[in-house]
């Protein structure tokens, strides 16, 4: 299990990285934390002829709070940096809670959020969390920049809106409104494994304690991270009673398309989605109180 040969470039600026990508096109891959790409290369399922290592690019590795309260995560910010940031834990507890379920500390030392989202594994926790948080992807190419909402970014298994000459430069996560509770829950075979089913829930209450906004997003539930907008909408205006939540969780099961794996049958995954949605919504409702 040794990787096929490649040319390695370690540019120091975004422009240089983008120029390399433009020059080499499909043959080139960006290398961020390497925690998905290198295993694939070791198995030789990925054999890029050119690797553009982003780890020495200046300016991609910072975590910044923007004026509007959003968090801007540079493309090479490592999980380790995010999970150790007290402000993230306080202001974006959903991200912190879900991060703890991603792999193991040794993987999080090097793995990056940007690499994870670019990889777009539908079983991964992070895309679902980005969907629930309404994050935006900042994509750059030599000729300019565009922003794509999370819901438009993930197009299929390992497929994103990134064009061949584009780089994911940063992820922008808007702040949580007040009176919002979130929860992330998953069932994996073992700690650190990709989940058999996972769910991110977000609930906001109005002044009267009723549900003003609800979001649900699942991982391992289809070809992309799967939102359950119908189920979520059914909660708006309710008092978030056990019955309200149970009905929404049941409804969410119809909005996902679990594909099954060696670990779990689609029927079991769907069952889990209902169980976890109910539990996560209950938790989020408590936290929003």
């Amino acid at each position: 299990m040794k990787p096929a040969p490649f040319d390695w470039h370690a540019p120091e600026t975004v422009d240089a990285a983008l120029a390399l990508k433009a020059a080499h096109g499909e043959a080139a891959r960006f290398l961020a934390g390497g925690q998905s790409l290198v295993p694939a290369m070791n198995f030789r399922v990925a054999q890029p002829g050119v690797l553009i290592d982003l780890n020495r690019v200046a300016g991609l590795d910072s975590l910044d709070w923007l004026a509007d309260g959003s968090l801007r995560v540079g493309a090479t910010v490592r999980y380790r940096m995010i999970e150790r940031d007290a402000a993230v834990a306080r202001r974006l507890p959903l991200l912190a809670e879900a991060l703890a379920e991603v792999a193991h500390p040794q993987i999080r030392t090097r793995g990056t959020l940007g690499g994870n989202l670019s990889h777009a594994d539908p079983a991964s926790e992070m895309p679902a969390v980005m969907l629930a948080l309404g994050a935006r992807m900042e994509l750059r190419r030599a000729s300019g920049m565009r922003e794509v909402a999370a819901r438009d970014f993930f197009l299929g298994p390992l497929t994103t809106a990134l064009a061949e000459d584009e780089m994911l430069a940063a992820i922008i996560i808007p702040p949580l409104p007040p009176d919002t509770g979130t929860a992330f829950l998953e069932v994996a075979r073992r700690r650190g494994d990709y989940a058999m089913m996972g769910v991110a829930a977000l609930l906001r209450r109005d002044g009267a304690g009723r549900c003003a906004e609800a979001r649900l997003a699942f991982c391992s539930a289809g070809p992309t991270p799967m939102a359950a907008p119908v189920a979520a909408a059914s909660l708006v205006g309710t008092a978030l009673t056990g019955a309200d939540i149970a009905a929404a969780a049941e409804a969410a099961k119809a909005e996902i398309e679990p594909m099954g794996s060696v670990q779990a049958s689609p029927a079991y995954q769907r069952h889990l989605a209902g169980v976890l949605a109910a539990r996560a919504l209950t938790l989020a409702a408590e936290r929003a109180a």
């Binding site: 299990m1 040794k2 990787p3 096929a4 040969p5 490649f6 040319d7 390695w8 370690a10 390497g34 925690q35 290198v38 295993p39 290369m41 070791n42 198995f43 690797l51 290592d53 780890n55 380790r80 792999a103 193991h104 500390p105 040794q106 993987i107 030392t109 090097r110 073992r190 700690r191 650190g192």
Partner: protein
């Protein structure tokens, strides 16, 4: 291409292909064979080293990427030849290894863990260990060893 990597405080310069895995560089280029390889896809943890102080998989990085970073391996733990450090001693005292193949990776993971969490609970130790597979011990004695090392103030 030329690469200069600092392992256990010593700089090693070698001419390598960019594709050379850091694990192979450590083991076969500079001959520090204490770092083991069990899967080359990041799961087993046998190759865990410290990368600027944080535990990381040597099988998921290229040697050329390590230039300018501080890499530590199991060979750096004992302060003197033929001695054991406190964590290693606790491993022997608790019978925390059988074949010993997983052990170097576990020692490196636990070294970083104890540095941040010097008085862990059993549950915390088990969580911290969950990224390292051991096929021989059933983990119990490893957990005991880490708790013992913590108690002794390792």
């Amino acid at each position: 291409m030329k690469v200069r990597v600092t392992v256990n405080g010593v700089a090693h310069e070698r001419d390598v292909e960019p594709r050379l895995l850091l694990s192979d560089f450590i083991r076969h280029e500079i001959g520090l064979t204490g770092t083991h390889v069990g899967c080359e896809h990041g799961v087993c943890g046998a190759c865990t080293i410290l990368w600027d102080g944080a535990p990381a998989r040597a099988c998921l990085a290229f040697a050329v990427q390590a230039e300018g970073h501080d890499i530590r391996t199991v060979e750096s733990l004992a302060q003197a030849p033929a001695r054991l450090n406190a964590l290693q001693q606790a491993f022997q005292d608790s019978h925390a290894l059988q074949c010993g193949y997983c052990t170097p990776g576990i020692l490196m993971t636990m070294t970083a863990f104890l540095a941040e969490n010097p008085k862990p609970t059993e549950d915390e130790v088990r969580h911290a260990l969950s990224g390292n597979l051991c096929r021989c011990t059933g983990y119990q004695h490893i957990v005991d060893a880490v708790l013992l090392a913590a108690e002794r103030g390792a």
